[in-house]
């Protein structure tokens, strides 16, 4: 390999200027050009032991696709990726590569790893805009499988099963398919047209998508299997009920969950003038939490015109579960990080006559410090006595994670859940306690990442295939 690019740092990703993008919902990262992609691909050493692949939950053959990019064979690269990853335009944008594939990259030892995520995104985008794809509808094998939910695990599972010839029907509770990819992750991080094009691909492969179908209510799992002839069911219903803090003032107008806030904005397009859904119009917003959802919520608040947006997080920045890139982007856009702080009370306002307004007028917080490591190994935050202060905000968004949705487990006999309400799965990580019913994604693990959900959807598709073929 004579042609290796020995630059120690990644080819920079072109971005919208932070000042400009903090006021619009267009995509932040603009994507590599062909030249940039080829240059970056040439940084790959094509290591024999391929450590990066072991860091990928869906085992993309990373060095192989990068080699194709280096040759300028972008379509070839796309074929390599989609052998194992049905949704590269999505994972290339939202994967936490720094803790997965890129964390294992040999180039990362002295310098920065190869920008695997950016290359994956480039390849997927190139394919979408250049290749006139004619999707062949696979030969049907006559078996019917139901997929419940249409987020990353479900879309992956449906895609893999459809490729094997299964007749797949996806049931989605909302009016549009995509799950967290459409209601949760904002347009500026993952354009909805990309999700739609993936859903359209599934449809072209013969997958039927039924929206407005709340399984557990409209139809039960039993009805799907016994009356509608589905031989197996995959449950990929996501994480569900948002958590709150149980502190005084959470019932005030102006307090909402990140799920509600983001759904109004992303799914219902409340940020666009001609859509009807209202959203809180805020001057100053506190978003409580330190994950990707918290970053999405605070950056949405900024884009909706808030003058001041805070992240309030009880641990330090090093402990934040959000992707590094999201934290960096949020900072560049002017979000103020109040780390090692925790809300203790949300304060209501009073009008000129001293009457309570019932709306948020501030958030009383307390400083925290990190104590001894807890069971998880993370140092647990403890309150610093006497350090309380009031953050001047009119909106508080809780981004504290979720607990699993009870709709399916409460209507499906034989489906066991653990003490946290997550579906119990067998050693293969995808078989539930009910025969013919498989599950994956946040419904099993609790809140996790898009790519882990995709990995589970993939595993489940293989397990469902095995189950039906051996029946």
């Amino acid at each position: 390999m004579a042609n290796i690019n020995m630059t120690p740092v990644k080819t920079p990703m072109p971005h919208q200027d932070p000042k400009v993008r903090a006021r619009n919902f267009q995509e932040v990262a603009l994507g590599y050009t062909e030249e940039m992609a080829i240059g970056e691909a040439k940084r790959c050493l094509n290591c024999k032991h391929r450590p990066c692949v072991s860091g990928c939950p869906v085992n993309v053959r990373i060095p192989d696709f990068i080699a194709k990019v280096a040759e300028g064979d972008f379509e070839g690269a796309y074929q390599v990726i989609t052998d194992t990853n049905a949704l590269p335009a999505i994972s290339g944008r939202v994967c936490p590569q720094e803790s997965q594939c890129e964390s294992k990259c040999v180039r990362g030892i002295k310098g920065e790893p190869v920008a695997i995520g950016r290359l994956e995104r480039f390849v997927a985008d190139w394919h979408r805009t250049h290749a006139a794809e004619k999707i062949a509808k696979p030969q049907s094998n006559g078996h019917k499988v139901a997929v419940v939910g249409s987020g990353p695990s479900s879309l992956t599972c449906a895609s893999d099963l459809a490729k094997l010839g299964y007749q797949v029907t996806v049931f989605e509770a909302f009016h549009v398919a995509g799950g967290v990819l459409v209601y949760g992750i904002p347009e500026f991080r993952l354009p909805k047209a990309i999700v739609q094009s993936e859903v359209d691909k599934l449809k072209a492969m013969g997958v039927e998508i039924m929206t407005n179908m709340v399984i557990g209510k409209v139809l039960s799992i039993d009805e799907l299997m016994e009356e509608m002839g589905f031989e197996a069911v995959f449950i990929g219903t996501g994480a569900g009920l948002p958590r709150f803090m149980n502190i005084p003032g959470e019932g005030l107008a102006g307090v909402c969950s990140a799920n509600e806030y983001l759904t109004r904005i992303n799914l219902m397009k409340a940020y666009l003038e001609d859509y009807d859904t209202p959203v809180l119009k805020s001057k100053a917003v506190a978003v409580v939490g330190g994950g990707n959802v918290a970053m999405d919520a605070c950056r949405c608040a900024q884009r909706l015109g808030a003058e001041k947006v805070y992240i309030v997080y009880r641990r330090g920045e090093a402990e934040m579960p959000a992707r590094n890139e999201e934290i960096e982007h949020a900072k560049e856009e002017g979000i103020e990080f109040m780390n090692l702080c925790n809300p203790v009370e949300i304060l209501g306002g009073v009008d000129e006559n001293g009457k309570p307004t019932g709306r948020v007028a501030g958030c009383r917080c307390i400083r925290m410090e990190l104590g001894e490591p807890d069971e998880s190994g993370r140092r647990s935050p403890v309150e610093v006595p006497g350090s309380e202060f009031v953050l001047d905000v009119d909106t508080v968004v809780m981004a504290l994670g979720t607990s699993p949705n009870p709709l399916i487990r409460s209507t499906t006999p034989g489906l066991e859940t653990n003490r946290r309400g997550c579906l119990v799965v067998g050693e293969d990580t995808v078989s539930t306690t009910r025969e013919g019913v498989f599950a994956g994604g946040d419904a099993v693990t609790g809140a996790a990442t898009v790519i882990k959900a995709m990995g589970a959807g993939k595993k489940a598709a293989a397990a469902i295939d095995k189950y039906i073929q051996n029946k």
Partner: protein
């Protein structure tokens, strides 16, 4: 798409639509709700189910023209179709173990009280119904109710029809006269429900209320519909919409329901412009 097969204005501000929605009609039960969306740019509007016909595969919704979506909805006609219609959501009214019930409906809540009363009556429960309206012109479903209960009491605030007074006056009168129920179910404006519960309290009669808070997904995902019940946070969409009236924090609910009130007033104007334009485009 979900086609409108029947439309009726029950009074100048309350509209009834019967919608083709076979999946919803198959499972619907009294006390449950649906969420609809008129068109691509519309909001998701939760409405309690007003009736259903399993054979025809239709569901009836009854709504008051209060906000932008309900006004747009009332402009639609038979043959038009809604883009989205999902349900049945929430838990059904608990009928088991109930031998006698009093269903109290106020204003629009009366429409939602109807399937609940009918559900009880059809199940052989001794059912009293008290409904209240501001005046005679606003009275709805009188004949339907008479067929769906044992004793029917109609109240108007101004006495222009039925008896004069609030529903709670009749409730108190009945309880005072020694009437007892296994359950009183109140459906209507939040302040009315609050006072139905207060009225029942001295007599120790169990009270349920049907709540209709702010909501988006209706499946427990957004938490917009959270209410404090017995000091604990509950989600009306999955834990309700009916709750023990003695435990509900009504004041918090009233306050939270006003979250978007000012904004809706503002947008109503621009919204109606959009719908008028839509109408004009169609005419063209």
């Amino acid at each position: 798409m979900f086609k409108i097969v029947k439309k009726e204005m029950l009074n100048p501000t309350i509209c009834l639509l019967e919608i083709e929605a076979p999946f919803v009609a198959r499972k619907a039960q009294p006390g449950q709700f649906i969420i609809l969306r008129i068109d691509e740019k519309g909001e998701r509007l939760p409405l309690t189910i007003g009736g259903y016909d399993r054979e025809k595969g239709t569901v009836t919704i009854i709504f008051q023209l209060v906000g932008l979506t309900t006004q747009a909805l009332a402009k639609m006609e038979v043959g038009d179709a809604l883009l989205d219609f999902v349900g049945p959501l929430g838990k059904a009214t608990e009928l088991e173990g109930v031998k006698s019930a009093c269903v109290i409906g106020g204003g629009l809540g009366t429409a939602i009280a109807y399937p609940v009363a009918k559900g009880f009556h059809d199940a052989g429960v001794e059912t009293d119904v008290i409904v209240g309206f501001r005046n005679k012109d606003l009275v709805i479903l009188e004949e339907e109710f008479k067929q769906a209960c044992d004793n029917f009491y109609l109240m108007t605030d101004d006495g222009s029809y039925g008896e004069q007074g609030f529903t709670t006056a009749k409730e108190k009168q009945l309880l005072e006269a020694g009437k007892r129920y296994d359950v009183i179910i109140a459906i209507g404006p939040v302040p009315m429900m609050k006072f139905v519960v207060k009225t029942a309290q001295p007599y120790g009669v169990p009270c349920k209320v049907s709540l209709n808070p702010i909501m988006i997904d209706g499946t427990g995902m957004c938490g917009g519909c959270r209410v404090t019940v017995g000091g604990k946070m509950k989600f009306a969409c999955v834990d309700g919409p009916e709750f023990d009236g003695y435990e509900v924090d009504f004041d918090e609910l009233i306050n939270r329901n006003n979250t978007y009130r000012d904004q809706e007033r503002e947008t109503e104007h621009s919204h109606m412009c959009r719908f008028d334009k839509l109408g004009q485009d169609l005419i063209k």
